[in-house]
């Protein structure tokens, strides 16, 4: 997904643009019902819990559950924009929903195939699976620092301060106090996990499913813990 396409428009002396591949994290809104009013009411309540997180947030609409329903994309788009949410695309839609959505300016997105699918799709037996190299950090991660481990695990053999951010495609291991934010499985890897010696995090997330410290405090605080996805929900349990 991190293709690096560059195309220079060099016919004129002044170059007007350049194309580049990019990698972004987007929140997914899983739609269960086509009832725009119910969606509006419930979304408003959710936004109030963390207004800054949702303000002007780009959203991907996942229609996997709502697959049988006839969705009024125009109304849905208007409703979301009225809440300062920006719908950018849909995924898991039926052909009819897809046609309808395109008419109303939605992009059609696909999840990256999971490793199993990729292996099955590969016709060339000489294709070797991508190696996952772990990124290892031994110094304390300070407030304001952002560490990203693409294509693998992130291992911190020290503490992580409040205000620091750890991001990984794979799992995140902190052999110390975890006080910052940890986002594992950033490209949708729901098998990723977060492990730490002392859970005091501001926010933890696996493949976009997140919990903030207020929620974490209620379940497991300042103990050795692991965070993972089970039954489509983020779980926290003591190690």
């Amino acid at each position: 997904m991190s293709t690096h396409l560059e195309q220079n428009n060099t016919t004129n002396a002044g170059i007007a643009f350049q194309l580049k591949g990019g990698l972004f994290t987007l929140t997914t809104l899983q739609i269960f019902s086509a009832d725009i009013n119910a969606l509006h009411t419930q979304l408003t309540a959710k936004i109030q819990q963390a207004p800054n997180f949702f303000h002007n947030a780009p959203l991907v609409l996942d229609l996997k559950i709502a697959v049988q329903t006839n969705i009024d994309f125009a109304a849905l788009s208007d409703m979301l924009k009225s809440l300062n949410l920006i719908p950018v695309g849909i995924k898991n839609a039926t052909p009819e929903q897809t046609q309808n959505a395109i008419k109303h300016g939605f992009a059609i997105l696909r999840d990256a195939p999971n490793p199993k699918e990729r292996e099955l799709l590969a016709t060339n037996p000489q294709v070797t699976p991508k190696s996952h190299v772990a990124k290892i950090i031994t110094d304390p991660v300070r407030s304001g620092q952002q560490i990203y481990a693409p294509d693998g695990d992130l291992i911190i053999i020290n503490q992580v301060s409040n205000g620091a951010e750890l991001i990984a495609d794979g799992s995140i291991h902190v052999y110390g106090s975890m006080r910052g934010r940890a986002l594992a499985g950033i490209n949708g890897n729901t098998n990723a996990r977060i492990f730490c010696n002392s859970l005091e995090a501001e926010l933890v997330s696996v493949a976009g499913n997140y919990k903030i410290s207020e929620d974490i405090e209620r379940q497991a605080w300042k103990i050795a813990a692991q965070i993972y996805i089970k039954d489509d929900r983020l779980q926290i349990s003591a190690l």
Partner: protein, 273 residues
């Protein structure tokens, strides 16, 4: 002559005691026979000259020297109490855009030829003034109040020291010292204030010393006397202990305990109580 040392006094958070500490540490280093200059990097909001008591003798400043409008010897102000102590004041009318890396580098190189210690008083924040002040430093004194926002900001500035200093960019490391200021042992015991251990644990930097909250600091400030040149008081003692640690020298002998502050001696030296 051994190589001069550039030390930045920084914190991230404002108002925690950088200028006070710069003056105290600079004066004490000078008092022990080291030719020392203290530089104010807070362009536009200068106070080092006030704390040092030389505000009425400022003719040329740091920016004048950088812009070749004056020589270093014209700008440097010699302290009236300590023969080894000099002040390079900041400009009050210009702003930090006037700080250019090349210019600052030239001044520091010139100062290194004359002085044993160059103490850079950083402004608060993590922008140009603060970055310039820490860029050339070999050692850093990170001034922190035992209070959550100060600790977080100190953590941030430590991160900046580890990535944006000249030494860091060359693959080396600035030697960092933690100086906890405005500490009240009784409030820490009551849990109203972070303890020395709490701060040490979060910042993971070697402790240089602990300076107690003291009314002496305000009166010294207002009189333009660096704490370490003032009459005996608890903060003065604590700063002296900190400078001893910085130099790796033994403690100056304390002959009397009549002010009672020596009972906190172990806290000020950062030893477990």
């Amino acid at each position: 002559m051994t190589e001069a040392k550039v030390i930045v006094v920084t914190s991230g958070k404002g108002g925690v005691g950088k200028t006070t500490s710069t003056a105290a540490i600079g004066a004490e280093l000078a008092r022990r026979g080291n030719k020392t200059v203290v530089i104010d990097f807070d362009i536009g909001l200068r106070n080092l000259d006030l704390i040092m008591g030389c505000e009425r003798r400022v003719i040329y400043d740091f920016i004048n020297v950088i812009n070749n409008e004056a020589t270093l010897s014209q700008a440097l102000i010699k302290d009236k109490r300590e023969p080894n102590l000099y002040v390079l004041p900041a400009s009050q009318t210009r702003n930090k855009d006037a700080l250019q890396q090349e210019g600052v580098s030239k001044v520091i190189e010139q100062l290194k030829k004359e002085f044993k210690f160059i103490i850079c008083d950083s402004p608060a924040g993590i922008e140009r003034g603060a970055l310039m002040a820490l860029y050339f430093a070999e050692e850093a004194v990170i001034v922190t109040n035992p209070e959550v926002s100060s600790v977080r900001d100190s953590d941030r500035i430590i991160g900046v020291l580890n990535s944006d200093s000249k030494l860091a960019k060359e693959g080396s490391e600035v030697k960092k010292h933690l100086l906890i200021t405005r500490f009240s042992p009784s409030r820490a015991k009551r849990g109203e204030m972070l303890s020395v251990e709490d701060v040490r644990e979060i910042l993971a930097v070697d402790l240089l010393g602990v300076i107690p909250e003291s009314p002496a600091v305000l009166s010294a400030s207002n009189q333009g006397i660096p704490i370490t040149l003032d009459v005996d008081n608890d903060a003065k003692f604590a700063y002296r202990a900190a400078v001893s640690k910085l130099l790796g020298e033994p403690e100056p002998v304390q002959t009397s305990n009549k002010w009672g502050f020596l009972k906190n001696i172990r806290i000020f030296k950062g030893e477990p109580v």
